[in-house]
């Protein structure tokens, strides 16, 4: 009798839908010479001073475990940065947890907060992990859709209409992947009021906060009464082009961070020290390199939005992250048809909007973390693609 491994996979994991991106990735990976606007990471290499400094530490023997919470020096630097940037400081001894990317911080935060049966508000379209993490924790994700007519922003009313007695938390992720939407301060204030009134925790994934092109980013934890109520997640991947280092952090109330630390110590022990050293260097000396990258994304953003609109893929103006999220209504196709055919016929990879939630249907995510030449060529090919299918 042959061994059937699938019999041993738990029902919870079996029930988990595979990421919509995964399917598309397998398809794209088989093709050659693809121009990709499908990548959710910077096209820059980590600034050399960060690599050099981290490797130097390793050479001097900094290759051990660290405190479960992370190096105190890094936690202090994170606290100082948040205080200076957003006016919200944390006690580095018990309110900051360094994690293996924001991905881990998110999982640990949800597992710390959610008991079986609890409901968590997830605002779509959004990054693929939120719903899955809630399900894995035995919770129930309650989806709130956002739409292009409101710039893919969520309102307090949208959230209020989906609350129940079991609602425990709201996951916010602005600037948003995949839409590039950002939240205005006034709307966030109303959401903060709602959270206080209904006694909810806000898990705020602000990994793209540094990539805000117009106005300044409002950190919800900095709003009155929200510091205790918010689990603030952020990291180094996007702002400093450090995706591969896997380094993020969570800040919040000491009891919640303490709970998160328990899971973290049993499952991860600590974030890699080499990456923690790199993160310290990034916070100390990375400002200039970061600003240079942000300025460049901003130029590409303007370029891609104008080009997409010009070829008939209507695109609302994204003011954060590095994604444009045009409507593909002009093509008459579904998001998946559009992406599959575009890849097959023109060798251009973009990601179907429905991979980020059902309300992303009819849109595609185009990352502008690619060179100007690549963006330009990709959009030209998309124009050709639309012309071919217009007939």
């Amino acid at each position: 009798m042959t061994f059937d491994g699938s019999r041993y996979v738990s029902n919870a994991v079996k029930a988990l839908p595979p990421s919509g991106i995964r399917k598309f990735f397998d398809l794209a990976a088989q093709m050659e010479n693809v121009i990709s606007l499908g990548v959710g990471e910077p096209d820059f290499i980590t600034p050399w001073h960060i690599i050099e400094s981290s490797f130097y530490s390793a050479e001097r023997g900094h290759t051990s475990y660290t405190s479960n919470l992370g190096l105190l020096e890094l936690r202090q630097a994170i606290s100082d940065y948040l205080e200076a940037k957003h006016g919200v400081g944390y006690d580095p001894t018990n309110e900051v947890l360094v994690t293996t990317g924001v991905s881990e911080a998110l999982d640990v935060a949800i597992r710390t907060l959610v008991s079986p049966g609890d409901e968590v508000i997830v605002i779509e379209p959004c990054y693929v992990s939120y719903k899955a993490c809630v399900l894995l924790a035995g919770g129930t994700p309650v989806i709130v859709d956002t739409h292009v007519d409101n710039g893919f922003r969520v309102t307090a009313e949208d959230i209020a209409s989906r609350l129940s007695d079991r609602t425990k938390a709201i996951v916010l992720s602005y600037p948003n992947n995949p839409t590039g939407a950002v939240m205005d301060c006034a709307t966030l204030q109303r959401i903060a009021e709602l959270a206080k009134e209904r006694d909810l925790i806000v898990i705020s994934d602000e990994i793209y906060s540094e990539l805000t092109y117009e106005g300044t980013h409002t950190c919800i934890a900095a709003l009155p009464g929200m510091r205790e109520r918010t689990v603030l997640l952020n990291g180094f991947s996007k702002a400093y082009a450090m995706t591969g280092w896997r380094i993020g952090y969570a800040c919040g109330n000491k009891h919640i961070i303490g709970g998160m630390m328990k899971i973290h110590q049993y499952t991860m022990l600590c974030a890699p020290i080499i990456a923690q050293k790199a993160a310290i260097e990034a916070l100390r000396y990375g400002e200039e390199a970061k600003q240079r990258m942000v300025a460049e994304y901003d130029q590409r953003r303007r370029f891609i939005v104008e080009r997409l609109n010009a070829i008939g893929l209507t695109c609302f103006e994204p003011t954060g992250a590095f994604y444009a999220f045009p409507s593909i209504a002009a093509s008459g196709m579904t998001s998946e048809e559009f992406c599959n055919e575009l890849l097959r016929e023109q060798s251009v990879a973009v990601v179907p909007g429905n991979a980020f939630g059902a309300c992303g249907e009819g849109f595609v995510r185009c990352s502008y973390a690619a060179s100007l030449q690549e963006i330009s060529e990709a959009v030209t090919r998309m124009e050709r693609f639309l012309a071919d299918h217009a007939r």
Binding site: S19, G38, D43, N177, R302, V351, L372
Partner: protein
């Protein structure tokens, strides 16, 4: 806006004014006018391709020459610098602080070619006191660009 335009063109002079205008949220006319002004004031000196000659011609030789000179009354180093930079073999001339006065980059078809230029043209100029010639063996980075092909970013084609 001037500095933004210069930064874009410094990186890639093939980007057309309409694209630059879009990238900066300006009008094409504004960009064209600014570029014209920058060209006129010689802030933009010329448009050129950065060529890695080692890829096409193994024999080309470049040398950096430390030149000690005696400055002249009224004109200082300017006159002797001019006498040197007017030679087409000379790629660049910098006035330096420190152990010598002028740093002169010279390109020639062969080692002999460069040596002969130094011996017959450069060292014999009035006011040149001494020269020290360093031949360049390999260029790793030029004008901010790493010439090594292996430094390439490898990302997944699609990622969340």
């Amino acid at each position: 806006m001037r500095e933004d335009i210069l930064r874009i063109l410094d990186e890639n002079d093939q980007v057309d004014p309409a694209t630059i205008a879009t990238m900066l949220g300006a009008t094409e006319d504004e960009v064209r006018a600014t570029i014209a002004e920058l060209e006129k004031s010689k802030a933009i000196v010329k448009y050129h391709a950065l060529v890695n000659w080692e890829k096409v011609n193994d024999d080309l030789v470049q040398a950096l020459i430390d030149v000690k000179v005696s400055p002249q009354r009224d004109v200082g180093f300017d006159q002797i610098a001019e006498r040197i930079y007017r030679f087409p073999e000379v790629k660049s001339v910098y006035l330096m602080s420190g152990a010598y006065d002028l740093s002169v980059a010279v390109q020639g078809k062969s080692l002999k070619d460069v040596a002969s230029f130094v011996a017959t043209k450069l060292a014999t100029l009035d006011h040149v006191l001494s020269t020290t010639t360093h031949f360049i063996l390999r260029k790793y980075k030029e004008e901010g660009v790493i010439l090594d092909d292996k430094a390439e970013l490898k990302r997944l084609v699609v990622s969340p």
